[in-house]
Amino acid sequence: MTDIVRNTQAASTATTASTATTAANTVAAIVPSPFSVVLRWMSRRWQHFILAPLVLLWLSPMIWIVLTSLKTKVEVFDPDAGILPAVLNFANYPATLAVAPFGMYLVNSILVTGSILIAQLVTITLAAYAFARLEFPLKRFLFTLFLLQVMFPIYAIFLTNFVTLRELGLINTLPAMIVPFVASGYGTFMLRQAFRQVPSELSDAARLDGCGHLAILWHVYLPLVQPTLVAFGIISVVTHWNDYMWPLLVTNSDSVRTLPIGLGLLAKSDSGADWTRLMAGTTLVVSPLLLVFVIFQRRFIDSFMHTGVK
């Protein structure tokens, strides 16, 4: 109702904001029929009528996860039980934590995702600087090799990578989940574009002051491309935090498993019957990243909005 008032006020300059009459009176004073006001408001805000139900639809799986995690086993299969849990039942959470070492999975996830991120930031910074600012033979060919990596899906080469890691004796270790992702063609490309936008006067000035390439890279370039580094970092973390297939193939004991693998195992051991416990586990696995996303929403959205790919 206050919305209608505000909109009609904005539309008509005749009404001043100081009109201290009731909402109904204000509306009646400007437009004779309240019905047409509603219609006009609806036509100007038509998007809400389409988007709001869709948003509900999009959110429903997440709502369903949380609601189910608070139900009892009986309720899940009872057709007359309704959507909401009768009593909020938090017992599923400790039960989930008791059957699987989620703490250890969490530590492994942090170690793997963190190591990949740090290693990638080092390799892409060095390579991107070479491609952006140095001249050397085979430059175009090497750059193509980097770009093509983006197109080759890990899903097409995982088999041979598995064989290689096995020969190196790295199967069922944390490094096995890290090494295939250390070089990033996409990150190198993103950062090269950012480096090229740094005005060359800046690096020329630094060089006159006696700085070498590495000093220029560290003191001039890196501070200026921070937004790109953050954007790449967010995408990298989301990708590898959620990765399922590769950690699934190269791990076979709890001491190295990551959160998604732990969740998949929980599903297998429950053979799909214990949905309440499974959904409690899902809530636990999903929430760290979703929480960070909600807090740093704008950063996340901007990263994905203006960049893309893995």
Partner: protein, 300 residues
């Protein structure tokens, strides 16, 4: 003088290669070496965990041509890719157009459509197994409520792949919407205004103004869609294991089955090579057909 220049240049070349070295080592070891090796494997009989290797020549490829299941799997993969990408992009475009205005609650809408990207594929797959459950799943309850027949979804060979496609649209269209939204912001609003004054309806405004102007971004989104479509492995693994009756078996899963379940690395590599060719072919096709017709606005 020229001698000094040559020394400086040589120093720069040396530095460049030194900077590239860390990336190149890992690129070589985990991207290019596996591709070459996979081709080598495909010409041999190789078993997982067995160092012995036997020359077969083209036999694996001939076997592939004769493998009825392979063709079915290839068809499933093509069907999944060619329906999921266009459908998600259409949904994403409509969402983006509806949101391309100063709308109250914009931040909430954006996040609500985008959050599925943040959810691990294994968690998403599991929840949708639950949502699709024939007996007690909420989707069937909703269909029932609307007076529609209940479906067996993941247990029905006709509906299992469409069910995974629906889930994929939920998972990815919010991502595509974000990228399209950024592009829509760059379309000058006076173009719409002029068209509106000329009596052009909303549908033709969308088709004749919006779509051509954001075509570079649409093209970009199609490529991203392709790259993300491989993730179907995770969904198939979690939701159906390729079943029922191989109706959801796709190339990536078939590689896994042959390599890890049947331990036949040679044959699995042969399938992996066809996946590579399939992917490169699709990207080439997109580049040739759409890439040429893309309308570039200004410099970009």
């Amino acid at each position: 003088m020229s001698h000094r220049f040559a020394t400086v240049w040589r120093k720069e070349v040396f530095l460049a290669y030194a900077l590239l070295l860390p990336s190149l080592i890992f690129l070589a070891a985990f991207t290019y070496w596996p591709i070459l090796r996979s081709f080598w494997f495909s010409l041999h009989d190789v078993a997982l965990g067995d160092p012995r290797i036997f020359w077969l020549g083209a036999e694996n490829y001939l076997r592939l041509l004769d493998d009825g299941l392979f063709w079915k799997v290839l068809g499933n993969t093509a069907f999944y890719t060619l329906t999921t990408i266009p459908l998600s992009i259409i949904v994403a475009l409509l969402l983006a157009v509806a949101m391309d205005s100063k709308l109250r609650g914009m931040a909430i809408y954006r996040s609500a459509f985008f959050y599925p990207v943040m959810i691990p594929s294994v968690a998403a797959g599991m929840v949708w197994v639950f949502l699709y459950a024939p007996g007690y799943g909420p989707i069937n309850e909703a269909l029932n409520f609307l007076g529609l027949p209940r479906l067996d979804w993941l247990y029905d060979s006709k509906w299992a792949l469409p069910a995974i496609i629906l889930m994929s649209i939920w998972k990815y269209s919010g991502y595509f919407m974000l990228i399209l939204l950024a592009a829509l912001k760059l379309v000058p609003s006076d173009l719409y205004e002029a068209a509106r004054l000329d009596g052009v309806g909303p549908v033709s405004r969308l088709l004749h103004i919006t779509v051509p102007l954001i075509s570079p971004t649409l093209y970009f989104v199609i490529v991203i869609g392709l790259l993300h479509s491989y993730q179907i492995f995770d969904y198939v693994y979690v939701m159906t294991q390729g079943g029922p009756a191989d109706s959801t078996n796709v190339l990536t899963f078939y590689i896994y089955q042959n390599g890890f379940q049947y331990q036949d690395i040679g044959y699995a590599s042969t399938i992996a090579n066809t996946l590579l060719i399939f992917v490169l072919g699709l990207i080439g096709l997109v580049a040739l057909t759409l890439g040429r017709r893309v309308h570039y606005m200004g410099e970009r």
